[in-house]
Symmetry: C2
Subunit: 336 residues, 2 copies
């Protein structure tokens, strides 16, 4: 299979030059005449030559960037990936995605695998690794972490401003007249710090406090079932909330189901808001008020930072992307 492969030597022979010359043209290195450039380029085209990445890796770069996905099911991954590939579209870099799973162990295995494959840099999306583990990875290769707040010293970071996002929701609900606003968050025995759901819960608390309201946080899980169970518990209370802010849209869908079953109409009896603005939130039948993270911008930013890192920047950068509130049909004034 590799037998028939066109190598740099074939190109050199065809162009009547040395392999070193071809290599220089390939990398746009300094010190090549226009004539040489033309000869080599022509030979490359004629032969349909493509550099062998592994061979390059042994000396230089692989022009491969790895994106570790923590949970393939996460609905805004496609946006982030689109942002990354979009930004890298006209560069030489190729993007390869590594399904890291949701366990620290499998994620560590994946990052190791990516490093072993000499990737030029890594984008880690919402990794559950500890700051210490991340630091180790960052010493091996340039790293940009997406979706982890705080602790970026050896690597760059791109985060959604989750505090702001939670604040947008609370402000919106308070503006509508709500005072009993509950929040459903995700319960995790994670060793990792600064995970988005933690920051969203904190942002919710801060915003409630700013409005002089008592907070009410219930931790279940970011699943449809988790939202359902959480809402059922909240709605069974004597002084039930008039609005529920779920930390993730998928949980908000469960809240909607619980409202259905409790015979409460949305938004008249209960306002519901989510976070992430996943695709179905915009479906007319769902019409869920949600916070949009603009995954495309996040992905593009991460890609830019990574390339800068690879090309030499050593100072750490943390970029915060502002979310937007998308008001739809599930939120409205409380019934008086």
């Amino acid at each position: 299979m590799t037998s028939g492969r066109v190598t740099i030597a074939d190109v050199a022979r065809r162009a009547g030059v040395s392999t070193a010359a071809v290599s220089k043209v390939l990398r746009g290195a300094y010190g090549v005449s226009a004539e040489m450039q033309a000869k080599v380029t022509q030979a490359i085209d004629e032969l349909g030559y493509r550099p062998h990445a592994a061979a390059r890796a042994l000396r230089g770069r692989t022009y491969t960037l790895g994106v570790m996905l923590s949970d393939t099911r996460n609905p805004f991954f496609p946006d982030i990936i689109e942002g990354v590939t979009g930004r890298l579209g006209d560069t030489e870099y190729q993007v390869l995605l590594g399904p890291g799973g949701i366990e620290p162990k499998t994620q560590a295995r994946m990052t190791d695998a990516m490093i072993d494959r000499s990737m030029d840099g890594l984008i880690l999306i919402a990794p559950v690794l500890t700051d210490a583990e991340l630091a180790v990875i960052a010493t091996a290769t340039p790293v940009v972490v997406v979706g982890r707040h705080g602790g970026a010293v050896a690597y760059d970071a791109v985060v959604d401003d989750d505090v702001m996002g939670a604040g947008l929701v609370v402000d919106h609900l308070v503006g509508l007249g709500h005072t009993r606003i509950a929040h459903i968050t995700h319960l995790e025995r994670a060793r990792a710090q600064g995970l988005p759901h933690m920051v969203r819960a904190e942002g919710y608390r801060q915003a409630m406090r700013a409005h002089g309201l008592a907070d009410d946080v219930l931790a279940t899980s970011f699943t449809e079932e988790g939202g359902f169970e959480g809402a059922r518990e909240l709605l069974a209370r004597a002084d039930r909330p008039t609005a529920i802010f779920a930390g993730a849209d998928i949980a908000a869908l469960g809240v909607l189901r619980a409202a259905d079953e409790a015979g409460l109409s949305v938004p008249e009896d209960l306002s519901v808001a989510g976070y992430d603005n996943i695709g179905i939130a915009s479906l007319k039948r769902v019409s869920l008020t949600s916070v949009d993270q603009d995954g495309q911008v996040i992905g593009a930013t991460a890609a830019s930072l990574l390339v800068e890192r690879i090309e030499g920047r050593s100072r750490s950068v943390t970029s915060s992307v502002s979310p937007t509130l998308i008001v739809r049909g599930t939120t409205g004034p409380p019934r008086l």
Copy 2:
């Protein structure tokens, strides 16, 4: 960064043996004494040695399998990927995903990139490349194509039995008493043949014919909007269908919205069925009757076939996975 890397030479020195010996232990090659095995293994552990994939690639395998994704947004990719990684879990192979985009050109670029990176084999999910292009790729590396019907000669294939799936839906609807059953399919100016939606439409036609019913196919697109537009057109007819079978769940969601807007209740006035059994289909609020493909099995099967190929099988295999009908709340007997 690579400077500090532990190499096979370090291991050999530590264990007091040759690099060749280490290599043999690594690959479990024939002719290694237990003592040698132990010494080397210990040295590897002590040093935390991990083989450098690029260096291996130059001579042998990379232990990397590539999965080309044609559309990251496709909701059953996670299942397929889970199936693939699950099956490969205890092997040495690592899975890397390549976002190929929906254009033939970008997909070709991605497959080239994967070949250039010496991947040991490729799984292509619903590629829009022509049979000829696929054949070329298959000469370069072992290939398993998922979701393309027909034309597998140089490579293996795993397909959902879309004819059967469409038949299940039609049989179900006919069994409920429907006779005017329309089908919404995807319109594509694709060069590629045997795409799932084409086969589903054909399966629908066959099944209708088998029941002695007239078929009624409308081509819009597999989007929420496409389903909506299609349904609106179908429902505006004098002799409107009593059931609509959308070739994809996402389109079925649009059909549901159109029914809402037309003031038709589901399933009393209109039965709706989809295909793919995406996550939201099972949400209680949606409860969409759909055909389930078991992406996990598809992915696991593809992984098995690929490994077999890599390890020497040359005869082509096509594996057909039977879908199941998941009956939920959107289908019922027609109003008399």
